[in-house]
Symmetry: C2
DNA sequence: GCTGTAAGCATACGGCGTAAGCTAAAACGT
DNA sequence: ACGTTTTAGCTTACGCCGTATGCTTACAGC
């Protein structure tokens, strides 16, 4: 009776709650993550969660920051472009892995994960000799691209591939190809990718374009 | 008694429902848009909406597409870069105006508005001599950037400017500036913008970087 | 051992999307 | 002109959701 405290129940903690929430969101998306289901997953009743989390918004902020904290820091000895590419690729992959993170990233709250990530990206530019002002804009541009491309890939992945035939049929139906010829062409490229190009990925291509341009700006417009 | 049909009630229609939904979302965001509130706004009960809209998802798809349809077509006589810039700027402004549109844009459904917009952007590239393959990637890159930058601006706008002092205080508090020096510098630039730079905007700067790079790719890597 | 505090629980409220079935009015075939 | 079908809107109800309030229980520090 005295040792019962030890055996059946590992006490909750913010860590455990966030962990479980991430697991729940990883399969099923954010919309599948409710306080009640999360509690059940933890063998607990819904209101108990509020001892470790202020409310659902706090929970979402928490798992978002935990995800962003997974973004790998760049190798410190690499040159600046390599470093930025490493950050960008890691951010992309992390948000693809936690497919809900891209949705949540549209929220202002600054946790340590986000701060670390942002600081490291900004530091790459500053250390590479970018001015304060150019760094300011470069950060926004690169950040936008990372965020946007990731969202695009996830959006594309959200369409069930078994429905490709339906989509294809729709685009072949007379007036579609007539009214939207270029979009039809584009959609067909998605559905029947050329050998050597896998569905969508030009992520690093676009990133390099941007870094090229930024470098040119740095070296005197 | 026979003329009563005429006087008090304009009958609902999909158009009117979408219109009211857009108005409701424009102030208050998507989370303020519920079937019940929307019905009330229209002087009707919730279930009546389902005569004109399949379900809430259909409603959201509807207002998103209506918003995207507002994106202006480019002047047909302009040169390709100007055309793309016009589309990109119009898309940006439209989504800033309907601040919920950027959130919703992360959904696969293809309505006529989106098709028109996408087709027109793709057409610019094709007409400018971009190959099928390069256009495929150029579209993804530009689309990502537009989407991402818009989301970033909206995210920034979501922080209440009256809280700037709090944020500033947080960044000045000792260890913050120490742990995240670059982010601190960046945040200060947001809060105390240099004269001549308004908060965030390098949208067109980044766009030009991308277009420069794409043009170079077109003209032979 | 007592007591203050924190963790978990039970109950309840108001809001949500929407399924099912009803009524009344408009549209249509004859 | 009339009966029938279709349609628009309403009522009710169900099962989710986040969470306010107030309880019990168990552990920590004196």
């Amino acid at each position: 009776m005295r040792r019962r405290a030890v055996e059946p129940r590992t006490p909750l903690s913010r860590e455990r709650v966030l962990q479980a929430a991430i697991a729940l969101a990883d399969d099923g998306g954010v919309e599948a993550l409710s306080m009640r289901k999360l509690a059940e997953e933890l063998g607990v009743k819904a209101m108990s969660l509020y001892n470790h989390v202020a409310n659902k918004e706090d929970l979402l902020d928490g798992i978002l920051d935990a995800a962003l904290a997974e973004i790998a820091a760049p190798r410190p000895d690499a040159d600046w472009r390599t470093q930025i590419r490493e950050i960008a690729v890691s951010a992309h992959e992390t948000m693809l892995k936690h497919s809900w993170a891209a949705d949540l990233a549209v929220r202002a709250k600054l946790g340590p994960g986000r701060l670390q990530y942002g600081d490291s990206l900004l530091g790459c530019f500053r250390n590479a000799g970018f001015s304060k002002e150019l760094t300011y804009h470069a950060y926004h541009i690169v950040e936008s691209y990372i965020q946007g491309y990731t969202a695009l890939v996830l959006n594309y992945r959200a369409v069930d591939p078994t429905q490709f035939d339906d989509v294809l049929a729709r685009f072949m139906r007379g007036d579609f190809a007539e009214n939207y010829p270029h979009f039809t062409e584009h959609a067909l490229q998605h559905i029947e990718p050329e050998p050597g190009q896998d569905g969508v990925n030009a992520y690093e291509l676009g990133l390099d374009l941007i870094l090229d341009g930024l470098e040119r700006l740095r070296d005197g417009a």
